[in-house]
Symmetry: C2
Subunit: 454 residues, 2 copies
């Protein structure tokens, strides 16, 4: 068949079950630990922070497929399935024999894949009788997505937004408020964690780790309120599996199998979802696909971090997760990819990386925006800075094919659009963008703060 | 069949020919006149401003279908077909027995339907050996669309942007520049027209009419440069016919016929495209569909203007068009729907309105944003202020059905997204948005400046 530029599945082809990649792993990710007892957290402990259904999903490492509730499916239909696009124009511009595909998750108002997990999280909270949710947001995509889902399912929301991102993207506040949520720049004076951090580092631009601490503290001290998180957690990767399941369905329809799948990685929500279907095959020896995580050189959890137990937040109030981490005290330079400014990484992806199923590459933001601009001009879509990390490596892989003459099938995740990132593009267009790379001493100091766990 | 929430046609169902509605009209729109001789403009005269192929299309009132060039079709495939969406969630929220559908043109980086005409205009210019284009933009959607198309087809671009819009939307400049175009706020000191206007009204926020004058003056005084326009013209409505043709194909697939089709109208590009297929049927007596143009109360060309020959621009350097106009000197209040701030209206739509085929309604912007917020919360998509005019009237029609108990099929055009209009939403969210309605004296003074044509 002639492969179309854009392939949209039928809405009946939206998955009706999420794929739980943990059930396919020989070495399961290590359990979350209670930082006080250093014992695995129990369902009961988690239920104080998360909704019950989400706590169950968080701890369920064995059920391979989990039903998507009908109201969530109805919501998905307003923005899914997302298209699989053949980047014919980019291929031509590069002069590569490679075939480049991207799964585009940006065709919704949140501008990213985040809505896939926001919808079930808001739904489960409402179903359990909660009246309020709290969360953090980095680039603002998760905050927007959750505000959208909360407006639809009818539940209040308070969003702690990483301060540097809220300053870089003033209109994120407006859109989050248009959907009815409250937005608070983090660190803030609304929580003990925020106040303590502001006292120590009054000029800090904040970090995802700190915003998480504030949102958790807010949730546990507010009645009928639960905390929700847009990445890192097992439950989030579970919800994001719709991306990878649709990807495989579409690739099967056009009769292709990827040689390499590339995704950006901050906390891992996008990459975990994108690769899940093919990774479950790889884990069963059914393919030999390469999977590449792309992270910013300014926040290189995989490529320069340590695989160890660490707090998920700066304020040390969350459970401990075994993951690739730069240390919970690590505060990255002011990179424009706010969604990738996280010190840790999904425990699932961390285990897969440790076991050799996943590669990782760190890239500098000036090179990332160069790729984004080239992509936009040829493929029309303006990528989010986060997504542009995957664009960079997809282009590099395609250029390597040009060198070698190989016609590989390259697939990457275009997680979102850059419409709220114009200040970043302005900075790049004017030649004033800088790269931020932590030095070894800085990393060593940060890693020295890891908790001791036997 | 169960009607899906979103219906995407296959890319083979993208129209391969544009529909020329003029060929179906009993009374054709009156010809453009040369303002010096008051005779119909000739192909030769138009060729000094537009590319030859576009001049031909402008004057061709008889060919019912015109082939879409293959490279334009290839470009269309990167963002077309656009989805037809059933607004199940909005219907439920309104409690209406009406069925509401919208044709959504916002799933591309320009954020609107404008890319449908930008692509052929950039293509034809390049094919004729031009090296540069000039244009104007109001809300910035047309400027973005044309910048995208020019980047792809490889031709330079200078954009004159209505000053009030450029101030309301600073990031439009950034995105237009990311695609490689120059952006100049209008009125500017780059042209004679701009300098004259600035002298008379130093504080003016500008208007589409003035920006057009500047862009035309720039084009005719620059080598290998042509002027392109994103609305009003016959050629633009021709290109936008892909919207209406896809709409009819999709409605036929689900076995529905609209009772009413609603679109916002500034210069008419969206509405003309949206209605074309069903209007061509109506003109042949094959249906009895109602077509409603929605315009801002601040710029009410149809509902309070006069059907007369007028200049298309403020500076009186364009040909005269017979259209509903508020007078070429009319400068609307600072309404947030920059794309609807135009004194005139497509001659095609003007003739159809005059002949009773089209209704018109003027709405105030506070009511428009109220509708937009409701729509966003239930249907996920954040509408552009322009598109939200159609949302307002679609909701009003659905509520009328609730009163009467009728189960009508309402279709509207959701032309674009409001991601670059967050300042407008901020204004609405904070309760500070005002309505601007011109008084009769102001309109009379403006209409007194119409040129005399026998």
């Amino acid at each position: 068949m002639k492969i179309p530029t854009k392939l949209y599945l039928d809405e009946t082809q939206i998955p009706r079950q999420w794929l739980n990649i943990r059930a396919f792993m020989k070495t399961r990710p290590a359990p979350l630990l209670n930082p006080g007892t250093l014992r695995p957290v129990t369902l009961e402990e988690l239920n104080g922070i998360f909704c019950e259904e989400l706590s169950k999903q968080e701890l369920d490492g064995v059920t391979p497929y989990i039903d998507i509730p009908e109201p969530v499916l109805e919501y998905y239909k307003m923005f899914r399935p997302s298209p699989l696009v053949r980047a014919y124009s980019l291929e031509k511009a590069l002069g590569t024999p490679a075939k480049i595909y991207y799964k585009f998750e940006g065709n919704n108002t949140s501008g990213s894949h985040k809505l896939n997990s926001a919808a079930p999280q808001a739904y489960y909270a409402k179903a359990q009788g909660m009246t309020k949710l709290s969360t953090e947001t980095g680039a603002g995509q998760w905050g927007t997505a959750l505000a959208m889902a909360c407006a639809y399912f009818g539940i209040d929301l308070t969003v702690f937004m990483v301060k540097v991102s809220s300053e870089q993207k003033p209109y994120r506040k407006a859109i989050i408020e248009t959907y009815g949520a409250d937005l608070i720049p983090s660190p803030s004076d609304k929580t003990g964690v925020g106040r303590a951090l502001l006292e120590e580092f009054p000029d800090t631009g904040g970090s995802l780790g700190c915003a998480i601490s504030e949102a958790v503290e807010f949730a546990v001290s507010t009645e009928k309120c639960r905390y929700v998180l847009g990445s890192v957690l097992n439950q989030v990767l579970l919800h994001q599996s719709v991306v990878g399941l649709e990807l495989k369905t579409a690739m099967d329809i056009i009769g292709e199998e990827p040689d390499v799948i590339i995704g950006c990685a901050g906390g891992g929500s996008n990459l975990g979802g994108l690769v899940c279907a093919y990774m479950s095959g790889r884990l069963r020896g059914r393919n030999n696909i390469r999977f590449i995580a792309v992270e910013p050189a300014s926040c290189p959890s995989f490529t320069r971090g340590r695989f160890a137990y660490d707090f998920c937040d700066t304020g040390k109030i969350t459970p401990l997760a075994k993951m690739y981490t730069l240390g919970h005290g690590f505060i990255p330079g002011a990179n424009h990819a706010g969604g990738l400014r996280y010190h840790g990484m999904s425990p699932i992806l961390s285990q897969l990386y440790s076991d050799g199923y996943l590669e990782a590459r760190a890239v500098e933001q000036t090179k990332v925006f160069e790729a984004a601009s080239l992509f936009a001009r040829h493929e029309t879509v303006l990528p989010a800075p986060e997504s542009a990390h995957a664009v960079r490596v997809a282009i590099d892989e395609a250029l390597a094919c040009k060198e070698s003459g190989e016609s590989k099938t390259i697939v990457f995740g275009l997680t979102g659009t850059g419409y709220f990132d114009m200040r970043a593009y302005q900075s790049y267009n004017s030649g004033q963008m800088a790269d931020f790379i932590p030095d070894d001493g800085e990393l060593q100091r940060s890693l020295a703060g890891l908790p001791s766990v036997d």
